[in-house]
């Protein structure tokens, strides 16, 4: 079961829960599982089937280079963070 860390600004959709535990083998499946429990979360994280612009995903504290296709392990942590650009 993946542990999804809910961004502070959408915790109103998860009854204030900071972490939600869901099933899923990819980030996309994790988001779908989250949506089934807490409707509205997917729209806040995704647009047109892709991660929203300006966001990035970290799985087990590493930036997920495959985006929504990134594999998830049973005990993975998933974070949604602002995208980073360097200088």
């Amino acid at each position: 079961m993946a542990r999804v860390f809910i961004p502070a600004q959408i915790r109103d959709l998860t009854d204030g829960q900071e972490v939600v535990v869901v099933n899923g083998t990819t980030v996309r499946e994790v988001i779908e599982a989250l949506e089934s429990i807490h409707p509205g979360t997917r729209e806040r994280l995704c647009r047109d089937g892709q991660l929203r612009p300006g966001l990035m995903i970290a799985v087990d504290s590493s930036v997920a280079s495959s985006g929504l296709r990134t594999p998830i392990n049973r005990d993975s942590e998933v974070h949604f963070l602002p995208a980073i650009g360097g200088g």
Binding site: F5, S65, G85, G86, G87
Partner: protein, 758 residues
């Protein structure tokens, strides 16, 4: 110093002469301004005299009638972009905003905003023609301050901007706003954390608008051929992102654009966005001739992305024995004309050097009538470090705790969860503090009155992204290596060294070249401290590809099964003691099938972040407020230093830029939004007279995600200087500076306030 048992390398860790060195010191290296093509026209951009105005009318007829003028373009010559976001490697970009920044649509949003451009037989005719373009403006009130821009009644820059609250908008209204984005992070129970603190400090900070200060201005030469293919020669940090931006803006296929990288005279994050290529391309399309456009220095200052000014408030709770209990940060960054300040990384970095059990961070991206902000070494992190590291120092002063010991008690380490969520892998924050604490510099005594010492730490993520490398083995045992990472800081050599190390040959046997977008696989920008890491991995993969092929060639020569042959120690070894060196085998390639070409890519690896801790001694003149930097030491977690001289150079360069940001550099605007110091005479970057030798301590904590342990090094060193210097000023003069730059007038005001309070 090395924290782990460091492997024995033959090439890595040595200091070979850079491959591009001779061309650069003899002046033969070709930069964008050196481009000469048959029939070349020269372009000049007409820029807005107003910081905020509606464009009522543009009449180019008088300019077009001037003899020698070949074309005039405005935004009407750039295809409409619609409402679309495009992924450009380092992040998604709003194409309507990018287009409006290249040539203003219906409004100008900062002084210097490009309005039109002329191509003519020479620059003088083009300049004269620009004066003949009639632009009627309806001048609007500008807003130049981040907090004023957030007010409900502030002039609004963009009609299409709403506050993005994690994919939603505030319920309050759907009105246009300057506040483009809100970010919030929380960890633990902040109120409970502050309740357990013995000391709680809250301070407010301001930082100025600062430019990257690269010496070479932006330039682009474009040739729009009759077959619809466009070639652009330019100075850029990313040939592929420049290609995509140009293609997307002109609404032509990416494959129809070729970007040829010229040598680059500095970038530091400021040469990722395109400004000139679409303009030059549009002029070339109209004329059928190549067009070269070069910015002058004022245009660089006024129209290319600086790093944002900011407002930051920090609240810090600490126990009597120096343990952090809670933190609260509020950050508002100026995005400039269009959304996109580095508020995200600013929020992620502000508490990143420490283990905060409880914290809250709130950040805002805010449009103001200044040029669209852009990346500058560790974008967003330096502003944040100035604020938090100053408060940490003041807390240490109040509690009588050595600031190095405070950091050793509270510093981030492997396993610590950041306030934004992720958990640190193996990092070297504590090692950099230990290195400073044990340094001769930190343990020495100050030499005179009005002197003070300060330390500060800083953090940057470093990124991975995608790179490609191709390497060809010559029959003489040489290797030509081609890559798509434009070389800002000696990366050609550091990439070549990793390929050489993997093949067991010398760095001098490898000839690296940075080539155009048609000649190498997709490669992301030279930025984010990624090239030596990610392009290095691609080079290692290319070397391994060569190894595999050479094993097969040797097996064919020896008439043995390939499984009995191994590549080891710079050559191939087979059964019965058979052995050929790399060079010996290279000589035999023609008789075993010809060329051996190795390919390597990198796209999955991500970096662990890097930390730096700086120590500085200053002397403050109590009569003038001038701050003289007396001594400066940088300790940084550099992973494995591939070419130590380049690593040291990055640390020194970053520190010097941070010193400039701390003491002098600032866009100076009048109340109409006109920058009054848009030349290097008035915008004062440090010179060799202003800084001492920057001593460096390379702390080597290898990143396990790279085969040789590389970490990016280019960005972290700019983060600590403003705070370290502010802390040194506090020790020297007894004043806490909370605004950058800490220029003599501000120092004197603080001293007078201090004296008045006595």
């Amino acid at each position: 110093m090395s924290t782990n048992g460091k492997p024995k390398y033959k090439v890595i860790g040595t200091r070979p002469i850079r491959h591009d060195g001779v061309d650069k010191v003899t002046g033969r290296a070709k930069y964008g301004a050196d481009i000469r093509l048959s029939g070349l026209l020269h372009g000049i951009v007409l820029r807005s005299p107003h910081a905020h105005a509606r464009i009522v009318r543009i009449d180019t007829s008088r300019a077009e009638a001037l003899p020698g003028v070949r074309a005039v373009v405005t935004a009407a010559d750039i295809p409409p972009q619609g409402d679309r976001m495009v992924e450009l490697g380092e992040g998604a970009v709003n194409m309507r905003h990018l287009s409006a920044n290249v040539l203003a649509h219906d409004k100008v949003l900062y002084k210097g905003h490009a309005v039109a451009a002329v191509a003519a037989d020479n620059v003088h005719i083009a300049e004269d023609a620009c004066k003949l373009i009639d632009v009627e403006y309806e001048v609007l009130e500008p807003v130049l301050d981040v907090l004023k821009a957030m007010l409900p009644d502030a002039p609004v820059l963009n009609d299409d901007v709403r506050t993005d609250v994690m994919g939603g908008s505030p319920a309050a209204s759907d009105r246009p706003t300057n506040v483009a984005r809100q970010i919030i992070f929380t960890k633990g129970d902040v109120q409970a954390g502050f309740a357990t603190a013995d000391v709680v400090l809250e301070r407010e900070f301001r930082t100025g608008t600062v430019h990257q200060g690269y010496i070479e201005p932006h330039n682009a030469t474009a040739m729009w051929n009759a077959n619809g293919k466009v070639t652009v020669w330019m100075s850029t940090q990313g040939i592929f992102t420049a290609r995509q931006q140009t293609a997307e803006l002109m609404r032509i296929p990416v494959a129809d654009v070729k970007v040829v990288p010229m040598e680059i005279g500095g970038g530091f994050g400021g040469k990722v966005s395109v400004y000139l290529p679409p303009v030059a391309a549009a002029l070339s399309k109209k004329t059928g001739r190549p067009v070269k456009v070069i910015m002058d220095r004022s245009a660089v200052f006024e129209a290319t992305g600086p790093t944002p000014a900011s407002y930051i408030k920090i609240k810090l709770g600490v126990t009597r024995d120096g343990m952090i209990t809670a933190g609260d940060a509020y950050l508002a960054y100026e995005a400039g004309a269009f959304p996109g300040s580095p508020i995200g990384p600013g929020c992620m970095c502000v508490f990143s050097c420490y283990d905060f059990p409880n914290a809250r961070v709130e950040g805002y991206d805010v449009c103001v009538n200044k040029p669209r902000s852009n990346a500058y070494r560790a974008p967003g992190s330096t502003n944040a470090a100035f604020a938090i590291e100053t408060v940490v120092d003041e807390v240490c002063q109040q509690l009588g705790i050595d600031p190095a010991d405070f950091r050793l008690k509270n510093g981030a380490k492997e396993g610590v969860r950041r306030v934004d969520g992720p958990v640190y892998a193996r990092i070297g924050m504590l090692e950099t503090v230990e290195a400073i604490k044990e340094s001769e510099h930190y343990q020495s005594k100050l030499a005179g009155p009005n002197q003070g010492r300060g330390i500060a730490s800083g953090y940057w993520f470093n990124i991975g992204l995608k790179s490609a490398v191709t390497a060809t083995v010559g029959y003489d045992g040489s290797v030509t290596l081609i890559e798509g990472s434009t070389d800002i800081g000696g990366s050609r050599t550091s990439i070549a060294m990793q390929l050489a190390e993997t093949l067991g040959i010398t760095a001098e046997q490898v000839t690296p070249s940075v080539v155009d977008t048609d000649s190498v696989g997709y490669t992301d920008v030279t930025g984010g401290s990624r090239v030596t890491f990610a392009t290095g991995i691609a080079a290692i993969e290319a070397a391994r590809d060569i190894q595999r092929q050479l094993v097969i060639r040797a097996a064919e020569l020896w008439e043995v099964d390939p499984s009995t042959v191994t590549y080891v120690d710079g050559g191939v070894s087979g059964p019965d003691g058979k052995r050929m060196t790399f060079v010996e085998l290279a000589h035999k390639l023609p008789e075993t099938g010809g060329p051996v070409i190795g390919n390597g890519t990198s796209g999955k690896a991500t970096q662990a972040g890097a930390f730096g801790t700086h120590c500085v001694d200053v002397e403050v003149d109590p009569e003038t407020g001038k701050v003289q930097v007396l001594r400066y030491t940088v300790a940084q977690d550099v992973g494995t230093a591939i070419h130590p001289s380049y690593v040291e150079g990055q640390l020194q360069g970053g520190a010097v830029q941070g010193i400039g940001w701390a003491l002098n550099e600032e866009y100076w605007y009048d109340d109409k939004g006109s920058m009054r110091n848009a030349t290097y005479l008035d915008y004062r970057i440090p010179t060799c007279y202003d800084v001492p030798m920057i001593d460096t301590i390379l702390v080597e904590v290898p990143d396990p995600q790279h085969p040789y342990g590389v970490r990016g090094v280019g960005e972290v060193p700019i983060c600590p200087p403003p705070a370290a210097i502010a802390n040194a000023i506090a020790a020297a003069a007894g004043v806490r500076m909370k605004q950058l730059p800490m220029s003599p007038p501000r120092i004197m005001s603080a001293i007078w306030e201090r004296d008045a309070a006595k």
